[in-house]
């Protein structure tokens, strides 16, 4: 590999914003310690391969205490098996918290790697009535210093020009080759006094914190933010999702209209278009969730939210940072699991990701709506509370509580170890950089489409194959709906349903319900479609008739058992794919699938038996 320049700095130093603005590609920034979990590569300049830059996770010191810090220091020491030691360092210091930057610099200076320093937030120092003396710092350290304001573009051209020219980089004088922490901090503190005068703490942040961290008011605001967050992901994303579904539905109709009826048309419409559509349909929620989370992170609120919920999450062996991924998973586990990257501790991140699929995502809603409206009477409890709504709310609450309880069990067994003490720096509140936001959201969405998307499309095609083969010869004059029904019943998927039926018989599922479960292995909402096909009604005409047919043909105990099954079962290939990517192995999605299946089976069995006992 040719020469690379590593971006090194403390968390919240503005390092990743600078990286995003300079490269405009693959990277994640956050006003939240520890977001950059994997190093991002980028190019600066117009010539391809001219200047490769590498953004390392933010670190406080070269002695790591978490996996992301481990990665950064192993790269810098040249001991990382995958990433070669960088040939140059762009060191980033935040002027408003320069003492921590200088401490880290005192360690970095011993690596013997040529360096230049960019000092960020010089505008904040001015705004607070302070002075930062970059000339004095340059004289003390003997290394080039460039003041920059990333989101305003100040100093960027200079950084770009200097990165392009190796001669600007200087090997620093090594500071205290053997000094202990205290000696380095005392040096950093003394140096800070020489280069920075900052009369006051950030008054705006202090005042805002009085409100946002108030024991009662702060919690109330936090809950309102969460309700808004939750609500917006459902209400703002759903029109777009409907639009995408309609578009893909139209495409399928076009195919049916243009191509002669047969296996090719069926493959294109129900295999390929349906597969791609099932990926694209997640995009609005992923975009929206990421935009909201990135804004909350970059403005500094997420660190405060973590503070507010830390105690509650502590009951379940998790910490404050676990809250955001779990909340996001109520919309969709995919962006939720992706956002678990904000948790620095490996054990807590794993426990959080593995219980994320138990949070009730929006794909379960079509199944819940269908079964609840078919089987739960529209009576009111105490005269005003809808029984149907109560059942729906109950399903959400049971799933969340069981999830937190599973996290507790995992923290006591699989992810057993010393408790990672909660420690988080409060960055000052800042205006998020729009360019950085766009780059981040674009990258995450692209990431999802390329890595999860490929898996989803492939598996959708496999499922199509199982339901389309072997081909059935229809007697003449059979209607399309009856043809579909016969095809599904006699396909590999249908035979599989009958073979597997004994496994689900204790739960009260017949072979039709079993095919519904198998068919919705790729995505839960497919259950509704499969039920429609099996019970020979046209689901596109509204599910009123389907409800009636289901009510007449499925016993109540079986219906409730199916509901209980969907509360827990991980019937989502996309979630499995993203879990594989985020944990780096198929072992964990397999584990998640297995334990949720056991839970689903147990709860469905209990529901079935109890309902039967109550009815008789």
């Amino acid at each position: 590999m040719h020469e690379t320049t590593a971006f090194v700095g403390t968390p919240n130093s503005g390092k990743s914003t600078l990286f995003n603005v300079l490269t405009g590609m693959r990277q994640k920034v956050g006003n939240f310690p520890g977001v950059t979990l994997e190093p991002a590569l980028g190019e600066i300049g117009n010539k391809p391969n001219s200047n490769t830059v590498l953004d390392l996770p933010g670190i406080y010191s070269l002695d790591p205490i978490s996996p992301d810090e481990e990665l950064a220091s192993s790269v810098l020491y040249g001991t990382n098996p995958h990433i070669p030691k960088p040939s140059r360092i762009l060191f980033i210091m935040d002027a408003t918290s320069i003492e921590k930057g200088l401490f880290l610099y005192s360690q970095i200076s011993n690596l013997g790697i040529p360096i230049i320093i960019a000092v960020t937030m010089v505008d904040s120092v001015k705004a607070q009535g302070g002075v930062f003396d970059d000339i004095a710092l340059e004289r003390i350290l003997n290394v080039p210093i460039i003041p920059v304001v990333g989101h305003k573009g100040i100093g960027l051209e200079e950084v770009q020009r200097m990165i392009a020219d190796a001669t600007y980089f200087i090997i620093p004088d090594p500071l205290f080759a053997t000094a202990d922490i205290k000696e380095r901090i005392l040096w950093a503190r003394a140096t800070t006094k020489e280069v920075l005068s900052l009369p006051q703490l950030n008054a705006f942040s202090t005042t805002l914190d009085k409100v946002l961290l108030h024991p009662i008011g702060g919690i109330a605001i936090f809950l309102s933010v969460m309700v808004l967050f939750f609500q917006s992901i459902f209400s703002w994303a759903s029109p777009l999702m409907d639009l995408i579904e309609t578009l893909f539905g139209n495409m399928q109709e076009q195919v049916a209209y243009l191509l002669p009826q047969g296996i090719i048309a069926d493959f294109i419409s129900r295999g390929l278009i349906a597969g791609v559509g099932s990926v694209i349909v997640f995009l609005p929620q992923i975009l929206l969730l990421n935009i909201i989370i990135v804004i909350l992170e970059d403005c500094g609120y997420l660190a405060r939210a973590a503070f507010l919920v830390d105690r509650f999450m502590g009951i379940f062996g998790l910490q404050g940072r676990s809250f955001i991924p779990l909340l996001g998973s109520f919309a969709c586990a995919i962006p939720g699991i992706m956002s678990a990257r904000i948790i620095p501790s490996h054990r807590e991140r794993m426990a959080t990701m593995l219980i994320a699929p138990l949070m009730t995502c929006s794909a379960r809603l079509p199944v819940y709506t269908l079964l609840i409206s078919a089987f739960i009477p529209t009576t009111l409890i105490w005269g005003f509370f809808s029984l149907q709504a109560a059942v729906l709310a109950g399903l959400y609450i049971i799933a969340a509580l069981v999830g937190l309880f599973i996290a507790l069990i995992m923290k006591k067994t699989v992810f057993k170890g010393d408790i990672t003490p909660f420690l988080i720096e409060f960055p000052p509140y800042r205006m998020p950089s729009l360019k950085s936001l766009l780059v981040t959201v674009y990258d995450r969405s692209k990431d999802f489409l390329t890595s999860a998307g490929t898996v989803i499309v492939t598996l959708s095609i496999i499922l199509w194959f199982l339901s389309a083969f072997p081909r059935v010869d229809f007697p003449p004059e059979t209607s399309t709906i009856v043809q579909q029904q016969m095809q599904l019943e006699q396909s590999y998927a249908g035979s599989l349903g009958k073979v597997i039926e004994p496994l689900f018989a204790p739960l009260g599922f017949d072979w039709k319900l079993t095919i519904g479960i198998i068919g919705s292995f790729a995505a839960r909402e497919v259950f509704v479609t499969v039920m429609g096909q099996l019970y020979a009604t046209d689901t596109s005409l509204g599910d009123e008739s389907l409800r009636q047919i289901l009510y007449n043909s499925i016993p109540l105990a079986s219906a409730l058992s199916v509901l209980a099954f969907y509360v827990f079962a991980l019937q989502c290939i996309s979630t499995m794919a993203i879990l594989k990517r985020e944990t780096g192995s198929w072992k964990w999605p397999a584990f998640a699938f297995a334990y949720t299946f056991v839970l689903a089976y147990m709860f469905a069995f209990a529901t079935y038996r109890i309902t039967l006992a109550l009815i008789s």
Binding site: S61, E99, K100, I181, D209, R311, L423, I424, F426
Partner: protein, 77 residues
Amino acid sequence: MNICDLAVGTEAILEGFSTDSPFTRRLQEMGLIPGTIIRLIRKSPFKGPIEIAFGYTRMALRPYSEDKIYVTELLNK
């Protein structure tokens, strides 16, 4: 006294730590070395995390663990 026994709003001088752990080392690397003057900004209910300020840094930590942080209260600042 331990840091969480401080009253909200009081200043104290950091004396040392009960253990030498990654957690207490990290606190020192962030600038919390003995002799540093800190201020307890807020506590959260039910023994939740506390917020402290020193120098230009503000941080939240959950101090109710093995790692005690010893401080001496400054009476008149």
